[in-house]
């Protein structure tokens, strides 16, 4: 592809976020969302294979539908403002619709079906951007929508996501589908955090981004798309395999890694606000997903695959800079980091 593509579209994606964060009218928010989506779509199809194109198309359809619902919700909101007497029938249906569209954009249960197919179809790097950056616009809108009336829906959907994401990944051997389900589960925790407080939600999001980037990148380096390949990776590239293993343990929420602290803070704040049912459901979901995280970590770190002489040591592939090394370190030094972040969320 042309070298001008990625800067242009990257700029567009960045400006979409700025647009969303700085606008006061819902039309411009919608504009920003659409801009971000449309700028991202071509970058997904970078590799032109049929699988990727199919995933791109699916993504586009779902996002377009979500944008349409968003616009409809906005219209409903506007109409209830300007047409008197309508609000007693409709209530805050507009806000609910907008929230549904955001949920669809993010990929939360029960609007999550596309996440699995899209992430499976894409390679790791676009998938990573999809699961991390493309949530930012959605989350920006979501935190403005959270209120007393909407909180219950979000909580229910969040708890259900955690459980559903856990169950879905149990039978998976494809790593990308596994990561998709894990993302759904983490999103559940995220929106539960948002229900409690904005700072908590954004903290959880930052933690999730920071610890999933090394996982995706090192899986890309190892080129492991299937569980069996993970098993053999300890021999070929031990460092990368260890990072993936540790990363998965961190995603699972095991102390002392960083993922634990996100979950811990969310739980603490939920219980401080007496939302015990949600907390219990989230924990059960995390427990179910623990199985497949542990399975992957076990394959990466604990057992030794069959030693093959023909496996080439892939030491030539770059590590994409010291940023990644820093992220890896952050995973392990979660203790030090979260102390600072948790004081932010107060």
């Amino acid at each position: 592809m042309s070298p001008y593509i990625s800067p242009l579209f990257g700029l567009a994606m960045g400006s979409s976020v700025l647009l969303i964060s700085s606008s006061t009218h819902w039309v411009f928010v919608w504009l920003g969302l659409e801009l971000g989506t449309l700028a991202f779509i071509p970058m997904l199809a970078w590799w032109h294979s049929s699988l990727e194109v199919e995933a791109t198309v699916k993504y586009f359809i779902i996002q377009a539908m979500a944008a349409a619902v968003f616009f409809f919700g906005g219209l409903v909101m506007t109409s209830t403002e300007y047409i008197s007497g309508l609000s007693q029938f409709v209530g805050n249906f507009g806000e609910v619709l907008i929230m549904f569209s955001i949920i669809m954009k993010l990929g939360l249960v029960p609007f999550h079906y596309w996440v699995v197919d899209v992430v499976q179809g894409l390679n790791y790097l676009p998938g990573m951007v999809l699961l991390t950056w493309q949530k930012v616009p959605g989350l920006m809108v979501l935190v403005q929508l959270v209120s007393m009336q909407n909180g219950l829906i979000l909580l229910i959907f969040g708890a259900l996501s955690a459980f559903w994401g856990g169950l879905g990944g149990l039978g998976q051997t494809q790593m990308r589908k596994l990561l998709a389900f894990s993302s759904i589960a983490h999103l559940g925790w995220l929106v539960s955090g948002c229900v409690v407080g904005t700072m908590l939600g954004s903290m959880y999001f930052i933690l999730y981004v920071v610890l999933s980037i090394p996982v995706f990148v090192f899986l890309y380096i190892l080129n492991n798309t299937h569980l069996n390949q993970v098993r053999a990776s300890l021999v070929s590239n031990p460092v990368a395999a260890m990072v993936v293993g540790v990363g998965f343990l961190s995603l699972a929420g095991l102390p002392p890694f960083m993922g634990f602290f996100g979950k811990w803070l969310v739980l603490t704040w939920l219980l401080n606000n007496f939302l015990v049912g949600g907390a219990v459901a989230l924990v059960v979901g995390a427990l179910v997903s623990l199985f497949y995280y542990l399975r992957v970590s076990y394959m990466c770190m604990v057992i030794l695959g069959p030693q093959q002489i023909m496996v080439s040591l892939s030491w030539r592939k770059g590590f994409m800079g010291s940023l990644l090394g820093g992220l890896v370190v952050l995973n392990l030094l979660g203790l030090l980091l979260v102390g600072g972040i948790s004081s932010l969320s107060k």
Binding site: I61, P110, D117, V288
Partner: protein, 597 residues
């Protein structure tokens, strides 16, 4: 004066410990002999000094905050008498073991073990602090284990030693309860502070009784004593007749003033002793192993001592300890002489007619048995008869008193049976046995203990003023009851034996109640452990641990989640239309719900 005596005794103890490290066995024997002389001098001096009370020597050893562990010794009349008797008997047994274990390559070690045992026993009896008592208690337990399993290549010896350890350990629970209770309630472990109590907890006294039951082989924890006959004869005669098994009774004697405060415990002690006496006497009637007969006889006499404590005459119990040491050690040594002469044949059904083959030993056997039965004016009489008189006039359970008298008659019965089978009847041994008693180390100790059995009674009663007044006025039937039942038992036994064994047949019924020692061993060692094991392995392990608890939580949940995961993955049909349809539906439904509420 008294201080000097105490120092002398302690010096002798220390010297004995030093001599334990020497290489030669005769050194150990000499050390014990001279220590015995020294201690008898001490005893004499203590007697001449009219204050026949106690003496304490105390060194602080470890400081534990508010309390400090001390090494403290108490020298009252019990300790001093016991020292003399124990040292005398041990010296004789050591000389005997030179004869008995002469062909054993590790005989030096054996003598060292015996010496170590003696040190532990003397620590036990001279202990003022309960902790020191515990040290001595455990010490004699360990030495008993090592000595019973002397011939450790023999599996029976090993199991017997383990049995001794187990049953003693159960008794040790009582001792630990004692220590804990006294530490928690009176913050002190000395006898002095315990005697000052006016009200004692039932746990404490229960612990004392349990400890005595374990160590002195009372009914309930008794199987280890006959099993301990696996050890060599010197071991049996030192540990399991004179010295170690009386440790439990000694404890009871020490605490007798406290036991008399609680009538329930006193009754328990009395009944325990009674039942032990009778049970052991019954079992002794049916044993065919000579050493086992003497072992059960020991158990029966121990029961009698415990009964004496229960009846309120502890000093008579102590007197019986001292007298019993003499003649029981001698009885064991006689059996040792027979066994050695018959090339390690212990079955009385293969003995007979030793009156002619080994006259000195037989005479000593007879005198020992006579002393055991309480023949007037021999050693046993001065302790056994007053005990039975005291039991007769006490207001305890009269059925129990009857049982004690029955047991006394059985004493005579089994003694005469033993005499008949071993030395009286026709000879049933193999023809060319090297039956020889012309050993100085056999005859010497036998003679010395024989003299002891004859005159010790007179000596003790003459020199020591009784600590508690004996009851001297009794109706003549009660006074002569012990003698009467003994004579009756002896006559019946002798005649029955003659009738039963006219043709030289022997009793082969080994499954009877008395031959199986009341089936106690089978029940406790086989039936009950098997029941527990069935419960543990069969029920808990197979049904629960590998069955239901596995299925309900770990595996069961796994299966359920697998099904749910299948459902979740079936929803991922990869058809966009399906996805959109579901999403629309959900949106519609949830939207309606939200709007209406």
């Amino acid at each position: 004066m008294v201080g000097m005596c105490g120092m002398l005794s302690l010096t002798s103890l220390l010297l004995m410990i030093v001599y334990l490290f020497s290489k030669s066995k005769s050194d150990i024997a000499q050390a014990i002999k001279y220590s015995g002389y020294l201690n008898s001098i001490l005893l004499l001096l203590l007697l001449m000094n009219d204050e026949s009370e106690m003496l304490f020597l105390k060194w602080e050893w470890v400081k534990l905050g508010g309390y400090s562990l001390t090494v403290s010794f108490r020298y009252d009349i019990y300790t001093c008498c016991f020292f003399v008797v124990a040292l005398y008997v041990t010296w004789n047994i050591l000389m005997f073991s030179f004869y008995y274990m002469a062909s054993d390559p590790r005989v030096e070690l054996f003598c060292k073990y015996l010496g170590l045992f003696l040190v532990a026993m003397l620590l036990l009896v001279s202990a003022e602090s309960l902790f020191q008592l515990l040290i001595g208690w455990e010490g004699v337990g360990i030495m008993s284990y090592l000595l019973i399993s002397w011939w450790y290549a023999r599996s029976d010896a090993n199991t017997a030693a383990l049995q001794a350890i187990f049953y003693n350990r159960v008794g040790d629970i009582g001792l630990i309860v004692m220590l804990v209770w006294s530490l928690v309630n009176i913050y002190d472990w000395t006898f002095t502070s315990l005697y000052a109590l006016s009200l004692v907890n039932i746990f404490f006294l229960g612990g004392v009784v349990l400890a005595a039951t374990g160590k002195s082989a009372q009914l309930g924890l008794h199987p280890w004593l006959p099993a301990a006959m696996e050890g060599p004869t010197p071991v049996s005669s030192l540990l399991h007749s004179s010295t170690m098994v009386v440790a439990g009774v000694f404890l009871l004697i020490r605490f007798s003033s406290l036991i008399q405060l609680d009538s329930l415990i006193q009754m328990v002690v009395f009944l325990l002793g009674t039942m032990t006496t009778l049970f052991s006497a019954i079992c002794a009637l049916a044993q065919n192993d000579m050493k086992k007969v003497v072992a059960f006889s020991t158990a029966s006499q121990l029961g009698l001592m415990v009964t004496a404590v229960g009846a309120g005459v502890p000093q008579l119990a102590f007197l019986h300890i001292c007298m019993h040491a003499f003649f029981k050690a001698m009885l064991f040594m006689c059996s040792g002489g027979y066994i050695h002469g018959l090339q390690n044949e212990q079955d009385v059904r293969k003995m007979g007619g030793f009156m002619n083959a080994a006259p000195v030993t037989t005479v000593c056997l007879f005198i020992g048995s006579a002393a055991l039965m309480g023949t007037p004016y021999l050693a046993g009489f001065f302790s056994k008869d007053p005990i039975i008189e005291a039991i007769n006039v006490s207001n305890m359970n009269s059925w129990a008193i009857g049982l004690v008298l029955l047991a006394t008659s059985f004493t005579a019965a089994y003694s005469f049976r033993l005499l008949y089978m071993a030395s009286g009847s026709t000879s049933r041994m193999l023809v060319l046995q090297p039956m020889n008693e012309d050993y100085g180390n056999l005859v010497g100790p036998l003679q010395r203990l024989c003299y002891g059995s004859i005159i010790a009674g007179v000596g003790f009663v003459y020199f020591f003023s009784p600590l508690q007044a004996n009851i001297l006025s009794l109706p003549i039937t009660l006074k002569l009851s012990a003698l009467f039942v003994t004579v009756v038992g002896a006559l019946i036994a002798w005649n029955v034996m003659k009738l039963l064994h006219e043709g030289g047949e022997v009793n082969l019924n080994y499954l009877s109640f008395e031959a199986q020692v009341g089936f106690y061993s089978i029940i406790m060692h086989k039936v009950m452990p098997k029941a527990w094991m069935n419960l543990g392995e069969g029920y808990q392990m197979q049904v629960l641990d590998r069955g239901w608890t596995e299925l309900v939580l770990p595996q069961g949940l796994g299966e359920n989640y697998k099904l749910l995961a299948d459902n979740v993955n079936q929803a991922q049909t990869s058809l966009i239309k399906m996805y959109i349809a579901i999403m629309m539906l959900v949106m519609f439904v949830v939207g309606l719900l939200v709007v209406n509420f």
